[in-house]
């Protein structure tokens, strides 16, 4: 058994590459990448984000959650000898030899103004706020650009015919990085269309369970006031007793 203080040191040492940066002494395999045209040799296997940091870039834009949820680190790249322009989230994609990279920290985008409480739940609402969706030529570029692998073109098509549920399902995992909108030849801001459609579906297309409404009424009527009075007055021993006496509902 290790001493508890030593355990902490072992853990800290093992995590160094993600807490203090990569140490070149630990690296055996290397690749060349090009950041906005400049070539850098970086450790193989790192994410694009880690590799750029290793190369000396400190992110002030193009980095957010660093875990694939926020869409801040949208990146475009080509690989040497390939015509395909590819997209990725820098925090979730490994560097490959010969990548030519650029970050897209911001996507200029139309956003409609609306009051969700007043919009009609009708097929025409999406078209009214984003008439440009009618310009979709089904070229599918948006789908190819999506780092979440969503069927973006299909949800724009769903939006055209006012199918809120389908838009919501197909666009649900959208992290709003904007790469679809940057690439779209019809200049559609897909991710904003999806946003409005999901909100409409969440508000109007889904119901609120009766039991949840009943609880709100109970709270309004002060049903729990007495119990809370007791709980707030209880000392730790009493609270411990109540905690121990809890019965866990069946799985």
């Amino acid at each position: 058994m290790e001493d508890k203080k030593d355990i902490m040191q072992i853990i800290a040492d093992a995590n160094k590459s993600v807490t203090t940066g990569i140490d070149s002494a630990d690296i055996e395999h290397w690749v060349w990448i090009h950041i906005m045209g400049r070539a850098y040799q970086v450790p193989a296997g790192l994410t694009i984000m880690q590799a750029m940091e290793y190369a000396g870039y400190k992110f002030i834009t193009s980095a957010g959650c660093r875990a694939g949820f926020c869409g801040a680190c949208a990146t475009m790249y080509r690989k040497e000898g390939e015509y395909k322009l590819q997209t990725a989230m820098a925090c979730q994609t490994r560097v490959e030899d010969g990548m030519f990279l650029v970050q897209i920290p911001f996507a200029p985008a139309q956003e409609a103004t609306y009051d969700i409480t007043k919009e009609p739940y009708a097929a025409s609402t999406l078209l009214e706020h984003y008439p440009e969706i009618a310009r979709c030529v089904a070229c599918n570029t948006c789908t190819k650009a999506c780092p979440q692998d969503l069927e973006v073109m299909d949800y724009i098509q769903d939006a055209l015919r006012g199918d809120y549920k389908k838009v919501a399902e197909r666009s649900f995992d959208c992290i709003q990085c904007g790469l679809c909108a940057v690439r779209c030849p019809a200049e559609i801001t897909q991710f904003n269309v999806g946003m409005l459609a999901r909100r409409m579906y969440g508000r109007y297309g889904m119901t609120e369970p009766e039991y949840a409404k009943a609880r709100l009424t109970e709270l309004d009527q002060g049903k729990y006031d007495k119990e809370f009075k007791k709980l707030l007055a209880a000392d730790v021993e009493e609270l411990k007793k109540r905690y121990a006496a809890r019965e866990r509902e069946a799985d």
């Binding site: 097929a123 310009r135 979709c136 030529v137 089904a138 070229c139 190819k144 098509q157 030849p185």
Partner: protein, 297 residues
């Protein structure tokens, strides 16, 4: 027959009555229309008014879907598809023709859509009306349980179903396909000299007056010939002829409202498939009083 069916956007929104009635009527005739699992807008006017190849990608992508369905056995037809909306029909048939006849265009589109299977150029775009005609109108008569006796219908064709000649499903100068169908349903046919005059199409958005004039002409001429109702196969024509009657009445005080049917609504009615399958409530001018007066409801 089990055939890939392309609905188009209008049929999912403003023209649900066309879709619901057509699917029911077709089923009665043994035509199973299987909605394509993924489909996109055909491209409508953009592809018709521009020779820009990009605007045909949308249609061709749908044709690829049809090809897939033929290959994976979800239908029993080969490289055939059916549409209901005249506009979608015309757009997609035009695109199919263009890439069939221009090998270079086909190669270019295929190489642009490099994540899709190559389109083979062979899909035949059909309108439900021509499938029915090719089956024989006697098959239609055989299914009629409630002949539309005494109902005077003026068939209207508009543009997209019959023009240009190499796309249309009937004689562009003197189309008869509607007349033959409704005759088979037991209705009386009134010939409207304005049956192939344009309804004004998309002028309805920015140039409403033009549409009001055209629609007024089409409707009043049908009435002068004794027509009690008019028929169409196009959601856009339906909108201009049916919904615009509100504005026509405001402009022409003597104008009398007149029901506008989708051809398929008359079929479901004559086949006795029930009012749910007719969806008359979705028509702007309610046809039910007329039908009741003829004892058809």
């Amino acid at each position: 027959m089990k055939i890939p069916y392309y609905p188009g956007c209008s049929l999912k929104t403003s023209a649900k009555n066309l879709e619901v009635s057509a699917l029911a009527a077709a089923e009665k005739l043994g035509i199973e229309m299987v909605e394509m699992p993924r489909w996109n807008c055909c491209g409508t006017v953009f592809s018709l008014t521009s020779d820009d190849l990009m605007h045909h990608v949308a249609s061709v992508r749908n044709l690829v879907r049809v090809q897939e369905m033929s290959e994976n056995g979800s239908v029993d037809t080969t490289n055939k598809m059916v549409t209901l909306c005249s506009m979608c029909f015309n757009t997609m048939k035009s695109a199919a023709k263009r890439v069939r006849e221009n090998a270079e265009d086909l190669v270019k589109i295929n190489s642009f859509m490099d994540t899709e299977p190559d389109y083979n150029g062979n899909v035949q775009v059909l309108h439900l009306l021509e499938i029915i005609r090719d089956m024989g109108f006697d098959k239609v008569s055989a299914k009629v349980t409630r002949p539309l006796e005494g109902l005077k219908i003026a068939p209207y064709y508009g543009c997209m179903l019959i023009r240009p000649k190499e796309i249309g499903i009937d004689d562009p100068e003197d189309p008869t396909i509607g007349a033959q169908l409704f005759k088979a349903l037991g209705a009386e046919i009134v010939d409207n000299p304005f049956k192939k005059v344009c309804c004004g199409a998309y002028h309805t958005v920015h140039n409403k007056d033009t549409v009001i004039e055209l629609a007024h002409d089409i409707l009043t001429h049908a009435q002068e010939e004794g027509g009690e109702a008019i028929s169409t196969s196009c959601p856009l024509c339906a909108f201009n002829l049916d919904n615009r009657q509100k504005e026509i009445k405001e402009k022409y005080l003597k104008f009398k409202e007149m029901p506008v049917f989708y051809f398929s609504q008359l079929m479901t009615l004559a086949f006795g498939l029930g009012e749910d399958a007719c969806m008359f409530e979705a028509n702007y001018v309610d046809p039910r009083p007329l039908l009741k007066s003829k004892n058809l409801l």
